[in-house]
Symmetry: C2
Subunit: 282 residues, 2 copies
């Protein structure tokens, strides 16, 4: 496995691979890798000739009061894991390499980033889409893989790719879960044993919501009431939002038609967790 | 010459040319072509193996009270001209092809777009950088050519390319002028004979400013006073701005050091004209 830290070198290598007719598959990450990330890389390995993973904790997607500095990092362990799944190139630039002095350009996807997490994290998605646009221009992939756990991020990136005519296929992959159902996330490392156990409640609440839907319930309010009830049984769970929205526009809906999602963000102590489940008629 | 109207087809063709090892040179335009545009294409012809020109009057860079609808158009004449300079592919998409329903993504360069024209045309540069980002992703050029007449646009695009790691060389080319010095512009077509004659005053004022600089004057205020005086001799000239700024950051300067520009925007009747001249110690 090759490790590249310079953007220009990554571009040269990518251009070379494309000229050789190779399909470049790309998995951008912020590191502290778990099975969720690795599942994306395994799919990338299957579908690409050259598999690139990036590890970069992107400062512009964290708010000033958020956890950029204490976001978990373990490059040595990450490199071991990605080598094992067959990554060809690991791109791991410094902050100064990605944001040199004078940087002032942002990519902003407007409507789909304004609901859900966009309310409590106002500049988050602007940071995400900007860094992903940069990474796409550096890695020049044909295919890029993102997890459905970060559903709004996935929709925003798909929208950006379509709107800016990026010639890239964005592939959304299923959320990988712990045995008790908790969605895998690097931030789970922040949970103490007690909070970790309580956190499984989030997925249980989503599954219950989906059951109601499967039984024919179509009122968002009725389903949300039950989902919230399950979460609120745990006194220390602090709900940021629990919403049912259209799966494409992310606009709130009252009656479920077509494809929808139940999406939630809940603080367990200091740790903010997100999760979602898709509601779709079979 | 091939004419392409679909983004996907243009991408396929560009990818094919790149795979063949060709250098793609690109000149984006809004049509109604003049010698300024053609000079860019001639340079592109010299430096590229495949020369692409686009003709697209971009609605998102016009303000609601601006001249999008009456912007001059003459596709038939344009196609004749670009064929003559040796363009290989003319990309001329419809508005619906570039901005389908649901479009909501913009590229915004922040600081360098806030001064000069950014004040009286608040969303103009956002429209420019967004459409140029789209065109770059569609045409996939190695080289792209822009005129220095639109100096702030050139700086904003260079900044975007650098900040978003677009692997493209942006080439700025000298302003092409009419025999009396007026900078060539599609909007000159709006001037009646009298206004057209008066408009030559703008370049004369810039030349006078540059002469003062050459004679050793370094106070921006002193030079600007003389430039304004020459413009204001013509009663019907309505100055939007006349400024001296740093040639890279576009921030106003009081004392000229390093590279600077005198930039102006003046309404001659209903027609807003811009021009600039570079001040640089030999």
């Amino acid at each position: 496995m090759e490790i590249i830290v310079q953007t220009k070198e990554m571009q040269r290598r990518a251009e070379q691979r494309r000229r050789e007719g190779m399909i470049i598959a790309f998995v951008p990450t912020m590191g502290y890798l778990h099975e969720g990330h690795l599942s994306l890389m395994r799919e990338g390995r299957k579908r690409g000739d050259c598999l690139v993973a990036s590890i970069f904790v992107n400062p512009t997607q964290f708010g000033p009061a958020e956890d950029y500095n204490r976001y978990p990092r373990d490059l040595k362990q990450d490199l071991k894991l990605i080598q094992r799944v067959g990554v060809d190139i690991c791109f791991t630039p410094s902050v100064a390499e990605m944001y040199p002095d004078g940087f002032q350009t942002f990519v902003e996807v407007e409507r789909v980033t304004q609901s859900l997490c966009g309310i409590s994290r106002p500049h988050h998605f602007r940071g995400v889409t900007s860094v992903v646009a940069k990474l796409f221009n550096i890695v020049k992939p044909h295919l890029a893989f993102f997890g459905q756990k970060d559903y709004q991020q996935l929709i925003a990136i798909k929208r950006m790719v379509k709107d800016l005519n990026m010639d890239i296929e964005v592939v959304g992959m299923p959320t990988i879960r712990e045995p008790d159902g908790l969605a895998m996330s690097s931030r789970n490392a922040f949970l103490n044993q007690k909070k970790r156990k309580e956190a499984a409640r989030l997925y249980r609440s989503l599954v219950k919501g989906k059951e109601l839907f499967a039984q024919g319930e179509r009122s968002a309010a009725t389903i949300l009431q039950e989902v919230r009830r399950i979460i609120e049984e745990e006194k220390s769970a602090d709900i940021d939002y629990v919403k049912i929205c259209d799966a494409h526009t992310l606009e709130d809906i009252e009656e479920i038609k077509g494809e929808a999602i139940i999406a939630l963000a809940v603080k367990m102590g200091k740790t903010r967790l997100i999760d979602n489940i898709i509601l779709k008629e079979e």
